[in-house]
Symmetry: C2
Subunit: 208 residues, 2 copies
């Protein structure tokens, strides 16, 4: 079957634990999808590997890609670009391999416009109190920043309606299992396989 | 959460192995859904238990239920009625428990008209040659009957497009796992949970 791969877009509010759940998903061997490495203009840090952690590009190179429509999504944070290059995604999908993106909510909405038949999965905190707790325990944000992040999380959770699935991050291993099951079952959706079966009906010549 | 249960309709062509896969699904304890026992007018056989194998009713009682719109679906085979009583299904769904129906393709299409937001799962043979093999090995059908069944299977597979998911019965345990994962992930669909999260956003008062 030369079925095209699925584009899986995994997103959710800042601080919900997307990276941890994604690592858990990719740490177990039963996945059959590839992680799409992001591109950035921020400087490479010691220990980071080109093409593994990020594709590191200059600002000029990145802007050239934007101009030529070669970024599936991108955003600017604190003066640096971050985004998903289109070529890798398309080449992998064409091989029949699923591609897994872990991106911010705003980027996911950009992808949704370009690839509406992607599988959009929203990772959500069990409740906002738990998110607040998590941000406090992480110890990287001031009280004011945490309040701002919670307000932004509220806005982002309201954008959940643009997604296909909502997965609760109550426990990392459970959340990872849920995401894997979603990817598995999306391949069983009739609209994705009906062509194969119609062909089977037409082509089968049975022994009499 | 007073979320209503899901109606799961499990169907597929005659001889594909629906009953075996259903038994496998219910033999492991991690399911959280109830099997809807069918009603029939055929005589109770020795060893069969009322309310477990079937609800046994007279022809008059069954026709009364049809007349009053109390059958979710029904069909007549060899002079006997078989069908799904509506009351049990609705009462169980109202309790927030998923209901699992294992029914013929024609019955599933009746349910689809009445409950379009049910989850419709089509069990399909890997290919028609395998189905033919299975029917021959079962040894209960004549050569002519098997040819007829294959023709009917072709017609029924074409009706797959009315379903949400197609699951291949290549191996019973795998098929059962796939069905369980479909039921699990259907609960994560945004349209089913968005109300809960919108309420959470509105109601949360956080500590400052």
């Amino acid at each position: 079957m030369a079925e095209r791969g699925l584009l899986i877009v995994f997103s959710g509010p800042s601080g919900v634990g997307k990276g941890t759940v994604r690592q858990e998903i990719f740490s177990t061997p039963d996945h059959k999808f590839e992680y799409s490495v992001s591109m950035t203009t921020r400087p490479q840090r010691s220990g980071e590997v080109e093409g593994v952690d990020y594709f590191f590009r200059t600002r000029e190179e990145f802007e050239e890609l934007i101009k030529n429509g070669q970024m599936l999504e991108y955003a600017e944070y604190v003066g640096n670009y971050y985004g998903t290059p289109l070529t890798y995604v398309n080449e992998t999908l064409d091989k029949g391999i699923d591609v897994f993106l872990e991106i911010e909510v705003q980027g996911a909405l950009q992808v949704k416009k370009k690839v509406p038949d992607g599988v959009f999965i929203f990772l959500t905190p069990p409740d906002l109190g738990k998110l607040q707790e998590r941000l406090i325990n992480r110890g990287t944000d001031s009280k004011e920043n945490i309040a701002k992040r919670i307000e932004r999380a509220k806005e982002e959770i309201a954008l959940m309606r643009e997604y296909d699935y909502a997965v609760v991050n109550d426990e990392v291993s459970l959340a990872a299992e849920r995401v894997k099951h979603i990817i598995e079952t999306e391949h069983f959706r009739v609209e994705r396989v009906i062509g194969h079966y119609m062909k089977m009906i037409e082509e089968t010549r049975l022994s009499r």
